[in-house]
Symmetry: D2
Subunit: 350 residues, 4 copies
């Protein structure tokens, strides 16, 4: 992934964290600013946000913790749930496999990787790892890591997730879902899953805030009661208990007290869809069938160079000597006029 | 340390992170909110804040990184600088010794603890550890950890810090300074140290933002060039690279673009001094001679109970069956009228 | 501990691993040498040795594993039994506290140290640690580490061990006994404990072979069934599964098929007692009341220098400018004539 | 790999550690048994063995350490040489990739795996990993792990090793060679490498004793002086310093004081060649072109079942529903008559 953005671009479609926070979130921080609250996440706002999320998922037994970012959440959650010789199965494109600087391995655990073209793991892929690991000379796979939406913009359908979930239950594997872009995933027009359904199918997952309108913050949801014990010790030990933990609680409260979280994700998806539809019309192909806020058109090097003069994005991977896939990302903050402008500029180049 | 705070209290002197952020900091976040910036701390604001801090310390060769909290900063910095068999020497009262859930040990390193009554380490204490560790059957002490202001409110004078610094240099030890409350330390009326002088005497230190007016954020300053290499890899691997890293850069820029950082700390210290002077007048003794924003008066159990009905604070440690030390903490947000009220209420009890 | 031994000494009382193995052990290795056996401890001899030990302890449910040395055994056993934020309580003189190069911390766990003058932990000492560790900002003590015989030659009486055992059970703490010198401990004339009784009072312990006549090898005995699961994975992952695991099984079979293990320890203790009685007669005091194979007389520097010309030993600790405690260690291989000669030489010096 | 051995077999070709030690080694242990020697590898025999090996490699600057087994050696050496975010590149068939229970990951490091059909890594494979890892969001590859002989019996030729060595030097990568079966590798009739040449081409490697006639023991050779510092601390911390370290020193002294080490490996290779030649004559194919003591014929399930009634071996991998590759291993202890018998029995089945 090569970053070809610079400050002179007209506009960035590089990622979904280029701006600050949605203005309602900033307002909520200001409104509560001078109240004295307990530290380390024991404040009233964090408590209210947790209650709200539990209600949304119809499950009072959930444990919810607020953390500051995705890698931190993945590494703490995964390491807390595995014994030292247990491993986690993930796709090669899974965020923990390559893009977290060995954060999982740094906690002592192997990531067993498997390959897929659509960003989604399957029961067969999981089985292929189990079949290889049979005794104490090898690690013992104990967890399956998936992302929704996936790292290449695709989503799991309910049936797909149910199959994986059942297989995991039957094979004594934990199922962990990375929801850095869960908003985009759930608000995809192809999605037939709800937040509550996800909470019924996985053991642990997180609801990403950073990439959907918050300044920072992810909400880790622990469903499996085996995994709840003493979790705050892990948070503190890994440096994840913010003294002013309230600042994440306040944000999640704002995002979920009405439909803001989903509205922001829906906007991002719509902007991506517009881009996608129009790029297709211009005759371009795509790496994956994304229905979320990340799309992966394949452009010739010349097109990439020209459109890259005005817009920021990442080159995702080389297709051949003449062309590459680029990644265009939209967000809650993407302006429709800039989407239109991109399409217009692209059509002139093509 | 027992927390006897609850929400019905009139006012909390529990800690310096009960409120949000100084209003100038919130304003700065709002003003920059819709600008598109690079992620992961590669934004213009973080860059400007780093330049500003380097200028303040007259040293263009410094490496500066923004992290989200003190324990995170300590564990990443310390573990990145030690080989697996090397240890860090700290006081029993040092924050890493007891109050970080074994975060340093969780990265694989022993903390060698020594005792002191005033919260400050000395060359003799350091030597006592070196004398005990002589071969490969024991860890090899390689770093000295100090805090300024200390965990019990005291500060290092320039001469004291110079002695420790010289000893460390001569004995091949790194000197690390935890500056969670560096503002309070430097703004103590007893302090004869500047930010620049500190940067000349230690190998690494951090400038605490969370406890001095920021929503979150600490600025780690690496002076010793041996310790700079690839530091961002450590940040990413431990989950400390915030996607919207700008939010810490913006805050430090605001705190240091004029004297705000020092003004906030000075206010906190003044409020603590007022408390301290008046409590002394009422005949109470103190655990330590604090000249910063944490003071440790010794009260009888009855006084603690009565004043505890109205004010939040921590019981620091039991003195005997009849009395304990409590910790009162002031901050940039402490209202003078509440200090006056506390004194008035205490004088009625006494 | 300073080593003042060199090769020109007449004789070493430095430790109990200066020689190879008891000749019956060598013979057993030779007798079985050309048989083909399964690797990694799955051989018939290891299996027989385990059965034998289970019978000796009247408990068929024990899990027994053979490891190559004490530090390896301690670090694997302790780390396998603790979650990452859990700590182990040990005396400052405990082997894991100082003399294993931070091996426990290297697996991520804090050692909470307490002080005692006789090498033995007490319920009050354990309680003092528990009282200090009350929430998620601190580690959670979960295990108590003791040694028998202790690092300064003393032993636990049955009543003492029962008290500690009960306290641990009632406080949800695992009790781990380091038996590097368990033979000497059990064969002390003051001991009222048997191997079986120890197995009923602790959760895990090991029976030391290296220091009692084997070439190498310790037998880890897991009593608490919570701690048994998948233990061979830990062994393999830490590099402790010897390909020719048979060589430890064969040795333990030989040591325990009759009373050899206890005979060797008894000889060592007798030699130490003889040294001790005679040294006392010469008017010297001792650091501890050892009844096992390590004794700690206090000599003037002059005596240490002169006797050090002929005999090897370690200087344990400085008492004052004029005198130090030395450690004299006997073993299964100690020759009585050399004990006599040491006494004779000492009496001429005194 | 499925183990189909049991005790009723006529003979095992399962591995090269089914027997004890060569009789000269046992004799050496007996001859030196009652001498008093320093502990922890500071004995005269270990010292002499190190000198001898240095002489054999014509390099007095080498650091040599004796460890008890291959996984232990790999995990200590590799983890001591990498910073926490650095990774090691290995083949999928590399021993550290799958067959050490995540031992490398347990020390915090990622293993980047690549694929090859002949068990040998190439510059192109190494480059493919480097090309993917470009910034601090990914690990930084810093070491290349190879084995000689390889896990499937093949060997590196001098030119191949030189190419890899040069590439590593030019790209700031350490080259580590796992020599668990180095004897077999060097004594292969195809090999054009010497021990000295290997020491000139890699940064670190080990000479395997366990699989070539010793009871236990590997000699780690550190050539790159950057990697030598304080190595004994790592050994102690990971539980690898044997109290009676002499027992490995004595064995390596015996193996290398004349040509014993190479004679034993040559015998093993000859026995494998005989098997291999005769099996080929019977019309069977092989998984790899092994010239060392592990061969991998492909048999039908029926043949495997029948020959498996009499001989022990591992099924290496399934080829299709009707056939699999098995692994036959010979050693210093393999009896030629049993090789002949195996061939004779196989020819009757075929």
């Amino acid at each position: 992934m090569t970053n070809i953005t610079n400050e002179k671009k007209v506009y960035n479609f590089k990622d979904d964290y280029s701006e600050g926070a949605h203005e309602r979130i900033l307002k909520a921080l200001i409104d509560t600013n001078f109240e004295q609250q307990n530290g380390y996440g024991n404040d009233e706002y964090s408590e209210k946000a947790k209650q709200l999320l539990k209600n949304k998922m119809n499950n009072k037994e959930l444990d919810i913790h607020f953390l500051s970012g995705g890698t931190q959440t993945n590494l703490i959650a995964i390491s807390s749930m595995l014994r030292s010789y247990e491993s986690v199965i993930a796709l090669e494109t899974g965020h923990i496999s390559v893009h977290e600087t060995g954060a999982i391995e740094a906690t002592g655990h192997k990531v067993n990787t498997v390959k897929s073209s659509d960003g989604k793991i399957t029961v067969d892929l999981i089985k292929s790892v189990l079949d290889l690991h049979i005794d104490e000379h090898m690690v013992k796979p104990k967890m399956v890591f998936i992302s929704n939406s996936t790292e290449i913009g695709t989503i799991y359908k309910k049936k797909e997730l149910e199959k994986i979930s059942n297989f995991c239950k039957n094979n004594n594997l934990y199922l962990y879902l990375d929801g850095a872009r869960l908003g985009a995933g759930l608000c995809s027009e192809e999605s037939d899953l709800t937040l509550e359904e996800i909470s019924n199918l996985v053991d642990v997952f997180y609801i990403g805030g950073t990439k959907n309108g918050a300044l920072l913050g992810e909400a880790l949801v622990i469903i499996n009661s085996e995994l709840k014990k003493d979790f705050r010790y892990y948070l503190k030990q890994r440096g994840a208990l913010l003294a002013k933990g309230r600042i994440i609680g306040i944000q999640f409260l704002e995002l979920f007290k009405d439909e803001l979280y989903f509205e922001l994700a829906t906007h991002a998806n719509l902007m991506a869809k517009k881009l996608s539809v129009e790029i297709k019309k211009l005759g371009y192909k795509f790496l994956s069938e994304s229905t979320t806020n990340q799309i992966f058109p394949i452009f010739s090097n010349k097109v990439i160079e020209k459109i890259g003069d005005k817009y920021g994005f990442h080159i995702w991977e080389k297709i051949d000597n003449n062309s590459s896939t680029i990644r265009l990302v939209t967000s809650w903050a993407t302006k429709e006029e800039m989407v239109d402008k991109f399409i217009s500029d692209l059509s002139k180049i093509s």
